[in-house]
């Protein structure tokens, strides 16, 4: 039996495997075994959702203390930390209390956000939180340009349990940007 120039001479078992389509039959056995042991890996997404990990980084939100006051002190550190320049903060003094500041305006352009969580790490008063929301598909891109009220609303619906004001927490907790004349004295 002459072998052609492109194919090398086959041994008897190789030749037998070739004429009986052995490799193809092995492949067909593999696909058939998957058909018979049908265990789909598909998750029927809108109907069933996977459990998210505990440290899931979803939609960003602004948080409040338990008395309803905003945590944000307008320090601009989140804006500085953001690698995508998502955040824009307009800081202002609280009118009656010159030592206290707050964010007069707070914008997030979520079309650019890459959910790295650096703003949350940067915040000194834990005013930013990452929720577990991820279904933020919209028809109009401008709906992803969020203002302060929207971000606070997201925080309100995602974090129903709020922290106490810092000065009312444990006495050793450091806090700042507080008008001290309103603060109750530290218990000794």
């Amino acid at each position: 039996m002459r072998s052609t120039s492109s194919t090398k001479r086959l041994s008897l078992s190789e030749w037998f495997k070739t004429i009986t389509f052995y490799e193809i039959l092995v492949g067909m056995k593999a696909t058939l075994s998957h058909l018979l042991n049908y265990r789909p890996v598909t998750l029927q997404y809108p109907h069933e959702k996977r459990t998210l990990p505990d440290n899931y980084r979803g939609m960003l939100a602004l948080l409040r203390y338990d008395d309803g006051t905003e945590k944000c002190v307008g320090c601009d550190l989140c804006e500085a930390a953001c690698p995508s320049r998502v955040i824009r903060v307009v800081s202002a003094e609280v009118p009656d209390e010159p030592t206290k500041r707050y964010s007069k305006e707070y914008y997030m352009d979520m079309t650019r956000c890459l959910f790295c969580g650096m703003c949350v790490d940067a915040c000194p008063v834990d005013a930013l939180g990452m929720t577990r929301e991820f279904e933020w598909a919209v028809y109009d891109k401008r709906q992803l340009h969020l203002n302060k009220q929207q971000l606070l609303a997201i925080g309100d619906r995602s974090f129903p349990v709020r922290e106490k004001r810092l000065e009312l927490q444990h006495p050793n907790v450091a806090f700042f940007n507080v008008a001290f004349n309103h603060v109750p004295p530290k218990p000794n």
């Binding site: 193809i24 492949g27 067909m28 593999a30 696909t31 058939l32 998957h34 058909l35 049908y38 265990r39 789909p40 890996v41 598909t42 029927q44």
Partner: protein, 359 residues
């Protein structure tokens, strides 16, 4: 007063309508079954949204294709562009005229003999199927050429070369069966396989046609442009091949033609090699329990089982095998399939001759 011609026409039209309905329903089932089987073999689920477990998906697809915009590309030859899907579809449907679906019964209605399970028992049945199957290639080639697109043209050219090469192998593979049964009529060929399973032509003495069957199956996979021989519509190279520019109903026609062609070649294969409507045992179980007038149900079910098994093989191959390279395709067709088919003819002829001399 019903004339003889009018009666014949009415009976034929009824049969044609029934067969068309069966074929279209089968194609609808196939589109779903293919996606489901393919999904299951790849650890997916297939369509799940429309209806329970996605069983209404074919209707959703049909409605979507029906309402899609019908685009004719600029510079396309409009007449041929419009003709091509029809030219592809009609020969495929015409081929079903000679397929025997059930027992070879004859009824007398007003002096006209009617065969209920075959539209037309012509004595060159298989030749007729092959001739029209070759015509369907024109639809693909012309569709590719008329689209004024390089992808379509390349797909059409590939299809031309592929269909011509493999049509030859199909024709030669069935010659052994024709020698064994001594007829070109599919009804006669099926009747020659009555009795036990070893009377089927794939196993029949004196010359089992098992090699011819393998050659036939591989060649019809290539002829219907299915994976692993789907070079005319190789989506990774040629977008969608010859129907790149087609949309809406015209695309649906090509799609329907491809699946109807699969059904046709499976029917022909089961009629030629797998005993057609014959059960693997002599007679039918219905006759044993005394319901011989209902035995046609069992016979047609056996035919359906054989056809659907072959169609499952199409899906199975698609789930398993990657696409061949073009030179591999041609070498396989001309250097492997063709010699096997020719050798099968020679061996079958010698075996039949010897057995005739002995008897």
């Amino acid at each position: 007063m019903v004339t003889e011609f009018g009666l014949r026409l009415a009976i034929s039209l009824t049969q044609i309508g029934a067969v068309m309905c069966i074929v279209v329903v089968t194609v609808l089932i196939l589109t779903l079954a293919e996606r489901k089987v393919l999904g299951w073999m790849q650890d997916r689920m297939g369509p799940m949204e429309v209806g329970p477990y996605g069983i209404l998906q074919p209707f959703a697809d049909a409605i979507k294709l029906f309402f899609k915009e019908d685009i004719v590309p600029a510079g396309a030859n409009k007449l041929i562009f419009t003709m091509a899907p029809i030219l592809c579809l009609i020969p495929t449907f015409i081929g079903f005229a000679v397929i025997p679906w059930g027992p070879n019964w004859t009824f007398e209605i007003n002096g006209i003999s009617v065969k209920p399970f075959v539209i037309s028992d012509i004595n060159i049945g298989i030749l007729y199927v092959l001739a029209f199957a070759s015509l369907a290639a024109y639809g693909i080639i012309l569709g590719g050429w008329a689209s004024n697109s390089k992808y379509s043209l390349l797909g059409g050219l590939r299809s031309a070369a592929q269909v011509i090469s493999y049509e030859l192998n199909v024709g030669l593979a069935i010659v052994g069966v024709l020698i064994l049964s001594g007829s070109l009529s599919l009804v006669t060929i099926t009747d020659a396989q009555a009795g036990w399973i070893w009377n089927w032509h794939i196993f029949a003495l004196p010359a089992p046609q098992i090699f011819a069957f393998v050659v036939y199956v591989i060649s019809v996979v290539a002829e219907t442009n299915r994976v692993p021989f789907d070079l005319p519509e190789a989506e990774s190279e040629l977008v969608a091949g010859f129907f790149t520019e087609y949309s809406g109903l015209r695309f649906a026609f090509f799609f329907l033609a491809e699946y109807a062609n699969m059904v046709l070649v499976s029917c022909v294969a089961s009629a030629l090699f797998l005993g057609g409507w014959h059960a693997p045992y002599p007679g039918t179980l219905m006759e044993l329990v005394g319901l011989s007038s209902w035995s046609w149900i069992e016979s047609t079910m056996w035919f359906a089982v054989k056809t659907y098994s072959l169609l499952f093989l199409f899906f199975w191959l698609r789930a398993t095998l990657p696409r061949l390279r073009y030179d591999q395709l041609m070498r396989f067709g001309w250097k492997v399939m063709l010699p096997i088919a020719l050798a099968n003819i020679v061996m079958t002829a010698i075996a039949v001759f010897i057995s005739q001399q002995i008897n």
